[in-house]
Symmetry: C2
Subunit: 143 residues, 2 copies
DNA sequence: TCTTTTATTGAGACGGTTTATCAATTTCAA
DNA sequence: TTGAAATTGATAAACCGTCTCAATAAAAGA
């Protein structure tokens, strides 16, 4: 009865290919994961504590890493924690960041994205998402 | 006599402004830092162990963070570790990161860099450094 | 120079995050 | 239903980076 039929299918396909099993915990964690844009293991642990008080933190880590391998999630190290991004939510924008005043300008550039695809395929990669940050000085900060 | 006169000057200026002191350790770490494009604290620790076996890891962390504040370095979380990038180094390379197995491939692409400059100047920015990470699956992880 | 003040250092303790271990349990194909 | 194989939960362990603090070194003042 999940609303996430497509992702559930992708996960089951990955499980099948790797002789892994479909468990109650994996289903529970997938449902919770797909409801958000990104989450940390700790956040999910607390969030799921009500539904299943015995669900262990280690299982959450293992499962989120499994989602990464299955192409559903993307891990990003953010400060001291790891964020797991939901790949199916992708309103992706890049950032120009002023190192002087901290101002952030968002931008999108199709040409850059196209070149990224080229680089990736040349190296045998399939891109799920990317992160591009340009650091510099805005004109007020340059005087 | 250091070859890195400019950076040494920038560091001393920062120290002066903040009532910090110029120490033998800071000089040593700066010299080692400027020789590379990027380094982790742990790598530097081993690298400097011969020159000064008593140089502590904590001092290296403290000093690399100081370089960030002084605008000489840029920290970024990479896998489980923190990389300190040398801002003055030009041959900046970017990363393809496999979300399945964690493999990292470095690449450089002048066209992308040129487009970045365009985006920046269109927004009135002057780029000091950037960070581009492409996340996806490498071919073994894709099957 | 000598003294005084203040920042820095080294060593290890510490805290938070993630992974490894392992016996018990669950899944799933036969 | 059975049995091999994967998974789980609990917790120990590993790991990275920061904090603590007494001892030391650097700058400023006399």
């Amino acid at each position: 009865m999940s609303k996430h039929v497509k992702e559930m299918g992708a996960l089951k396909e990955h499980l099948g290919k790797h002789q892994l099993k479909f468990t109650r915990q994996r289903e529970l964690i997938l449902d919770a994961f797909l409801k958000q844009e990104h989450i940390t293991a700790e956040e999910m642990y607390h969030q799921l504590a009500r539904k299943d008080p015995h669900l262990g933190l280690a299982t959450i880590y293992r499962t989120l890493n499994l989602f990464c391998e299955a192409g559903l999630a993307q891990a990003r190290h953010f400060g001291t924690q790891t964020q797991y991004d939901n790949i199916s939510h992708k309103g992706h924008h890049d950032h120009l960041i002023c190192t002087g005043c901290g101002k952030i300008v968002e931008f999108e550039n199709c040409d850059i994205e196209r070149l990224q695809e080229e680089v990736a395929s040349r190296n045998g990669f399939t891109i799920q998402t990317h992160r591009l940050e340009l650091y510099g000085l805005c004109s007020p900060c340059r005087q």
